[in-house]
């Protein structure tokens, strides 16, 4: 009997790996073309947003818990960096580590509340929690000691960085390295046994539970891991922008991550990263006001969900499977034609 080939055959993995290596190579060489500082800044921010989108994919894609409040761990990390360096006088690396821990704890808290829920209830709960944090951040001011400045509110809080204003090219390479590392980490998690179990929970919670999987515990794990990576992206963003603002906790940011993941292909990790880079660069290039950007993201999300529910990666996979099936059918017909008795058509 002919055994069907594994879904992910060796050559397909090699082709994917080749594309990825070529993309990373191009991004590594790009600064050698002497681009202006604005373009480098757009790409640096794009790398950090792409890492954030990949972290959303852990929760919303791999685990299937569609969150609209993923800005919460991201913003918690940027605020922790700002508060700890500006008001507590911590060195930035220590503050960044604490920020990642805080984001992870925030994720554990959200996961605890969201794990018994599914579908739109998760989206509403996470949206409410992040919006509450956003409102608090926008309305609260922190005093930096007696007679000192009042930081916070809409103006945000500056981050104290040991390197001051880093050259754009250094920020670019640091953010690119961070994106590669975090994507690699998330891919490793996605392909681990925990990642497999999470995909099972996302696909059919009932069957997973009947297979002995404590689904609540795994959903919490997804929130914890996704929030840890979002927190790391937030710390990187704080280092790049030099300020934590209420916008870091905004619905727009959560919505962006969900859009990038939907367009790139939920659960594929690399798809959301590529979509984030492409869409961020495109929308920044259009120089749209924030309200128009939200509309554009919403439009992109609607078109994707209506016409390409699997996103770019999912659609490409579907087309490839269809082509393979067509080739097999053609091969089968040719073989059957060859087996026909000679002279049968005379």
């Amino acid at each position: 009997m002919i055994r069907p080939a594994p879904l992910s055959s060796g050559w397909a993995t090699q082709i994917r790996g080749g594309w990825l290596a070529a993309g990373i190579g191009l991004l590594l060489l790009f600064p050698l073309s002497y681009p202006d500082a604005y373009l480098l800044d757009v790409l640096t921010t794009g790398f950090l947003l792409a890492a954030f989108a990949a972290s959303w994919d852990v929760v919303g894609g791999i685990a299937g818990q569609v969150t609209l409040g993923h800005a919460l761990p991201f913003g918690a990390a940027t605020y922790a960096c700002a508060l700890l360096t500006r008001l507590a006088g911590w060195p930035f690396p220590l503050a960044a580590a604490a920020a990642v821990l805080l984001a992870t704890a925030a994720g554990a808290g959200v996961g605890q509340l969201a794990s018994p829920l599914s579908g739109p209830f998760v989206a509403v709960l996470t949206l409410a929690l992040a919006e509450a944090a956003h409102e608090i951040a926008a309305g609260h001011a922190f005093l930096s000691g007696p007679g000192g400045y009042a930081w916070g509110g809409e103006g945000g809080i500056p981050v104290v960085l040991p390197w001051g204003d880093a050259p754009p090219i250094a920020s670019y390479y640091a953010a690119l390295a961070f994106l590669c590392l975090s994507t690699w980490g998330i891919l490793r998690f996605s392909r681990s046994e925990s990642g497999l179990v999470l995909r099972a929970v996302a696909g059919s919670p009932l069957t997973a539970q009947a297979s002995g999987v404590p689904i609540g515990r795994f959903r919490r794990l997804a929130f914890i891991v996704g929030s840890a990576f979002a927190g790391a992206a937030g710390a990187g963003y704080a280092a790049h922008v030099g300020r934590a603002t209420a916008g870091d906790l905004s619905l727009e940011l959560s919505f962006q991550a969900a859009t990038f993941a939907a367009v790139g292909g939920r659960g594929t990790v690399v798809g959301p990263v590529v979509a984030a880079l492409a869409l961020h660069a495109l929308f920044q290039g259009l120089s749209l006001p924030p309200a128009a950007r939200v509309l554009l993201y919403a439009g992109t999300l609607l078109v994707t969900l209506r016409f390409f529910p699997g996103g770019v990666a999912g659609t490409a996979r579907e087309v490839a499977a269809r082509l393979r099936s067509r080739d097999r059918n053609r091969g089968g017909r040719r073989r059957r034609g060859g087996e026909a008795p000679p002279g049968g058509s005379a």
Partner: protein, 224 residues
């Protein structure tokens, strides 16, 4: 001998309608029990309560002498009480191999490394799914889906299988294959089972004892 499963006075209502009314039953280790009853008699509700998918309103359930009434489905699976569903819910993005791997990941004791791979292959071979191991679960035929349900249940080395209409809507050949698997699980693996079916002939040929459920009560019982 201690009963493997002992359910006492199980009651369950939905919106004021009493679906189970003081059901008491026990299953000995390795015993083969059938559950027969008309539509709406509460067979699937009883399977859901016994397996931990639903909490009973009253009554208690003990498994191997341990009180498990409030333990959820996954915890009971890890104790060795596995169930299959009347309508399988396959994982849309996982292959057959991965689906069995998920079940084996939860099994106690948990096999690791080469032992785990061997375990998956053994279960797939025993269930007749080895050749379909890289096929997505969602594209399996009804017969293969039932086999996969059974393979998933076997992964925890079950002491008790609760099988809800495992043989319904199957071709004669698929039914025969699955029956052979069930008998092997009972004879070689020592698994007791509670087989829920509308098919009286099937129950008579596969079970030593048949319970008749009527209006949420065990109305009578027959030893074959």
């Amino acid at each position: 001998m201690t009963a493997l499963l002992a359910a006492t006075g199980i009651g369950k209502s939905f919106d004021g309608t009493r679906v189970l009314d003081g059901v008491t039953l026990s299953i000995a280790p390795g015993e083969t029990v059938g559950l027969f009853g008309p539509n709406g008699s509460g067979k699937t509700t009883l399977a859901n309560v016994l397996s931990g998918l639903l909490l009973p309103d009253e009554g208690s359930i003990a498994f191997e002498g341990r009180y498990v009434t409030r333990l959820p489905l996954d915890a009971r699976y890890r104790l060795g009480m596995a169930r299959t569903f009347q309508i399988p819910h396959p994982y849309p993005s996982l292959t057959v191999h991965e689906a069995v791997r998920v079940a084996l990941a939860a099994a106690v004791p948990r096999p690791t490394g080469g032992g785990r791979d061997e375990g998956i292959e053994e279960i797939l071979s025993r269930s007749g799914l080895f050749d379909q191991r890289f096929v997505p679960c969602a594209s399996l035929s009804q017969g293969c889906l039932r086999r996969l349900e059974f393979a998933r249940a076997l992964a925890c080395r079950p002491k008790l299988l609760i099988l809800d209409e495992l043989f319904s809507a199957l071709s004669a050949a698929d039914e025969e294959d699955l029956l052979a698997l069930l008998r092997a699980a009972n004879r070689e693996g020592g698994a007791a089972y509670l087989l829920i079916s509308h098919n009286r002939m099937l129950l008579s040929s596969t079970c030593r004892r048949i319970l008749y459920l009527e209006e949420g009560r065990i109305a009578r019982e027959r030893t074959v």
